[in-house]
């Protein structure tokens, strides 16, 4: 496993991580296929969803679940709207879903290569090399830390491939994007297997 030695200077580490984030900038709007695996305490087996993620220039995000059911989540202006066919739309404030807010903030900042924005909310740590790297985000804000333990992002070159949101209550959400979205997953899916997949060499 690749990781920087613990004794390394936080400042230089932070700077390296920031440089990495800056290199990830890609133009908006962007659309990517994704597969999400959610490990929820209430459930025996993880949930597996796939669909597309759309990220627009004004910072709003559209998450469309295609399998196993259809559902569209739009996040814009601090408001989350979840629509399912035949059901009234459910709306709530982004603030009420801090896990989502945390993920969204990291996701958008990473896709726009906006290191300062990311540094506002998270302490950054990076490891690996340019071909295969890991970025670990730890919430600075205590309110966010109550819900999100950390966000780990794995990628290659200037392409993030895997977002892992570790929630404070033990639930885990793994988002595989781009090339990894179509990766074959062997049942039963385990957390460990996903980490291996995310960090696997090309």
């Amino acid at each position: 496993m690749l990781s920087l030695p613990l004794c390394s200077h936080a400042a230089s580490d932070e700077a390296a991580a920031a440089t990495l984030v800056t290199s990830l900038k890609r133009g908006a709007p962007a659309t990517t296929a994704y597969t999400e695996i959610r490990f929820v305490n209430l459930l025996d087996t993880p949930l597996r969803l796939s669909g597309t993620l759309e990220f627009t220039a004004d910072g709003s995000l559209r998450k469309q679940v295609q399998t196993p059911y259809a559902e569209t989540t739009s996040i814009a202006g601090g408001q989350v709207t979840i629509e399912r066919r035949g059901k009234p739309a459910r709306r709530f404030a982004l603030k009420r879903a801090p896990e989502l807010a945390g993920f969204l903030e990291s996701f958008i900042a990473v896709l726009s290569g906006d290191a300062p924005r990311l540094q506002q909310s998270y302490t950054l740590q990076s490891s690996g090399d340019a071909r295969s790297w890991q970025l670990r985000l730890t919430p600075k804000d205590r309110a966010l830390a109550k819900h999100v333990a950390n966000v780990e992002i794995d990628g290659r070159a200037n392409e993030p491939r895997c977002f892992r949101i570790q929630e404070a209550d033990g639930d885990l959400s793994v988002l595989l994007v781009d090339a990894l979205a179509a990766a074959k997953l062997i049942e039963p899916i385990t957390r460990e297997a996903l980490v291996t997949l995310c960090r696997a060499a090309p």
């Binding site: 929820v40 025996d44 087996t45 949930l47 202006g77 879903a97």
Partner: protein
């Protein structure tokens, strides 16, 4: 009287006034409730308005907008402000859009299946449960998982959310960051219900202060501004503008009045002493109210002080008649019969108001009678002895002498009064516009921009209508709740048709006992529910014992005693229910708020239907009929008062031509005032009527003094001086009021100003004895 004796008497008088003032401040409670100024209700509509609900629940709503910062900051302020206000007992309900589950309260959670309408239409079975559970799996895969997760084990059907949604306002505004915003996300919106009625300026002022204080705290460090609208805010703004303007005008009036008296009598001590009878009258009148009624209505005091303004003329008559040859006491004794005729006739006339049956008018009668009598008596017995003998003689003034001669030459045509009366009656009969102004609010109007803002905020917030209301009456609260449940589908149909935007029923908060029991019966027993849950859960990824808390709570719900009105009222949402469900001795009343009324006719039709357990209350109509009923009482009192007045003047003057000379100017003046007002298209209000009474009282005094002149030319000049000072000072005071921007002050000002003018001129032309004329003119012309 010696100088020291006079000083002693003055001190004693001032001491007595101080005592009165102390008594009044200690014992007088000034009421602001309009109801004590209204006649007893005669229709069901009026009774509701007066006895039960004040001006309706719509009048207790305040609409708030917070603007001037980033939407995220505004949302934060809205949340902090709402949280602070929810802890304040002055506010029954604070809504800002947060569907806060804690608002339901832990006490009510076990009752959720009894309170929520779900079980009325849905069966509790394995199939429906499975449908819910499938959705919960999807929820866990969605971003909503974050806040639904903690709820699921005890409430997999999300009944709590359904309940919270059913308690949300009928028509909700847009949201941003969980709180209400306008459609363009420029300002955050809140809807607040005060405990105080909308028409109570003092209580509303306190509520607004609390609001502002909490806002300042919630918005610390932000440039955000709070805007408050709604009937209560208008009441405060109107009453404060009115009193500010009245005070400003009062200040100017006092300065002008003092200057005029100084000019007329050239002595500071005279002017200062001259104020004492009026002050004594006012204090004595107020003390009488404290003694007899224990308090007074604010309007009584305002009207009362206007009416006893006529007492300021009493010392003026005394001052103008002073002369070196006789002592002030002798002068006062000489004037006394004329003064007493004026005071007694006005006072006895006011007794008519005492029999009106309206508390406010009775208070007004007591206040004015006591006030005028005291002012008259103190002028005669306290003021006169205080004056020193060395006074200026008004009769020696050259301008007065010249004016007297010119006036003496004026004709006194007998045809004038009938002609003017006929002309006036014609104008009164054919004047444009409505004769009466029934809308009291038109006299204290809310500025148009404020009303526009209010309409905009009301539309954004979907706040209930302030005019229409459905009212349910039943023998007991449960009857109201049953009727309310019966109304629900009928109103839902109207909403479907677009006749109204929404409605708020008491049964939406607390269903009747029957409904709760019916829902309870539909809850499955523990073993059936376990079986259902097992079937429902099969094939779904939920862990086996996830829903154990749910099983426990449903079992507990089956054994609950349904919530009574009393039990619910003690709970966190109790105040809300109490505002809609009024339990009274022997009966109960339910109020159904209507939102966005588009089709009044449809509501009238619904209410008229025999099967509808409610009737439509038009608050505007009810208050207008009340005003009209009130006016009828005032007019009756006035007619009786006029008869009493004629009787007293007749007894005092005895001869028919003398009585006519005194009463005709006053009567014609009243007609002329009415003609001018009607000719200008002004609709008459209660304030005009009160001002007419004052004008008549002034006219009576002028006419009495002009009629009562002696053969002595010097004495005639003194009378002229007195009436001139009286009328110029009154004219000055009320002309300033007439120039006010506020209709209520303008109504009083215009009426009295016209009254002074007409009364003075007509008293000159009609009240004086014709016999004195020719001689006088020839003597001085030659």
């Amino acid at each position: 009287m010696s100088r020291t004796a006079r000083a002693g008497a003055l001190l004693a008088w001032l001491g007595a006034l101080a005592l009165l003032l102390w008594y009044v401040t200690a014992n007088l409670e000034v009421g602001t409730d309009l109801r004590s100024f209204m006649p007893p209700p005669s229709t069901a509509e009026q009774r509701l308005l007066l006895d039960e609900i004040g001006e309706g629940p719509g009048s207790r709503l305040l609409l708030l907008a917070i603007r001037g910062d980033e939407p995220d900051t505004l949302a934060g302020i809205s949340q902090r402000l709402a949280a602070a206000l929810r802890g304040d007992a002055q506010f029954l309900r604070v809504l800002n859009g947060e569907s806060d589950l804690s608002a339901i309260g832990a006490e009510l959670l076990p009752y959720r299946y009894l309170l929520s309408p779900t079980l009325d239409t849905q069966r509790f079975d394995a199939e429906s449960l499975r449908g819910e559970l499938i959705q919960r799996v999807e929820d866990l895969g969605s971003p909503a998982a974050a806040w639904l997760k903690p709820l699921l084990p005890r409430d997999p059907t999300l009944e709590t959310l359904k309940l919270a949604e059913s308690w949300a306002p009928a028509k909700e505004p847009a949201r941003y960051a969980d709180v209400w915003f306008d459609a363009k996300t420029t300002y955050a919106l809140l809807l607040i219900e005060t405990r105080a009625p909308g028409f109570d300026p003092q209580a509303q002022r306190a509520a607004l202060d609390a609001l502002q204080r909490n806002f300042t705290q919630a918005a610390a460090g932000s440039p955000a501004q709070l805007e408050v609208s709604g009937p209560g805010a208008f009441t405060v703004s109107v009453s404060e503008t009115t009193s500010a303007e009245a005070n400003r005008i009062g200040m100017l009036d006092s300065i002008g009045f003092m200057a005029l008296l100084l000019f007329a009598y050239r002595r500071v001590s005279t002017v200062l002493l001259g104020a004492l009878p009026l002050v004594s009258g006012g204090l004595a009148g107020t003390a009488a109210l404290a003694l007899l009624f224990g308090g007074a209505h604010g309007i009584t005091l305002a009207f009362g002080f206007t009416l006893i303004g006529v007492a300021q003329d009493y010392p003026i008559h005394l001052f103008s008649h002073l002369r070196p040859a006789s002592s002030p006491v002798a002068v006062a004794r000489h004037l006394w019969p004329t003064l007493v005729t004026g005071i007694a006739s006005t006072g006895i006339a006011y007794l008519a108001f005492f029999a009106s049956g309206v508390t406010g008018l009775e208070q007004l009668a007591v206040f004015t009678v006591v006030g005028l009598a005291t002012a008259g008596a103190t002028t005669r017995y306290a003021l006169a002895p205080l004056l020193s003998g060395e006074q200026r003689d008004a009769a020696l003034s050259r301008p007065i002498a010249r004016l007297w001669r010119r006036l003496e030459r004026l004709p006194r045509p007998g045809w004038l009064a009938p002609l003017l009366a006929v002309l006036a009656l014609a104008v009164i009969g054919f004047g444009p516009g409505a004769f009466w102004e029934n809308n009291l609010a038109a006299l204290t109007p809310v500025p148009a921009p404020l009303l526009e803002r209010d309409a905009a905020l009301r539309a954004e917030l979907g706040a209930p209508d302030v005019r229409y209301l459905l009212v349910i009456e039943a023998p007991d609260p449960q009857g109201v709740l049953r009727a309310s449940e019966q109304l629900d589908p009928q109103l839902a149909a109207l909403r479907e048709r677009g006749a109204l935007g929404g409605y708020e029923l008491p049964s939406r908060w607390l269903p009747s006992l029957e409904t709760q029991r019916a829902r309870q019966v539909r809850l499955p027993d523990d073993s059936s529910l376990r079986a259902m849950l097992q079937t429902a859960q099969s094939g779904l990824p939920f862990k086996a014992d996830t829903f154990a808390p749910f099983l426990e709570e449903v079992a507990a719900a089956r054994a609950l005693t349904p919530l009574t009105v009393e039990a619910f009222s003690d709970g966190p949402l109790g105040l809300r229910l109490k505002a809609m469900l009024l339990a009274r001795e022997g009966h109960a009343i339910g109020l159904v708020g209507l939102v966005g009324v588009n089709d009044t006719a449809a509501l009238v039709e619904l209410a008229a239907h025999a099967a509808t357990p409610a009737y439509l209350l038009d608050l505007k109509h009810a208050s207008e009929t009340l005003v009209a009923a009130y006016r009828v009482r005032v007019l009756w009192s006035l007619s009786v008062a006029s008869l009493l007045l004629i009787g007293v003047v007749w007894i005092a003057l005895r001869r028919r031509e003398r009585v006519l000379r005194v009463l005709v100017p006053m009567a014609v003046t009243t007609l002329l005032i009415l003609a001018v007002l009607r000719g200008c298209g002004i609709s008459l209000s209660l304030f005009h009527l009160i001002a007419l009474i004052l004008a008549a009282g002034l006219g009576l005094d002028y006419a009495l003094f002009f009629e009562q002149v002696e053969e002595d030319e010097m004495e005639q000049r003194r009378t002229l001086h007195a009436v001139l000072v009286c009328s110029v000072s009154t004219f000055l005071v009320f002309a300033l009021l007439a120039a006010s921007s506020l209709p209520v002050l303008r109504a009083i000002g215009t009426t009295v100003t016209l009254g002074v003018l007409f009364n003075f001129v007509l008293a000159l032309l009609i009240a004086r004895k014709p016999s004195a004329v020719a001689d006088g003119v020839h003597r001085h012309a030659g």
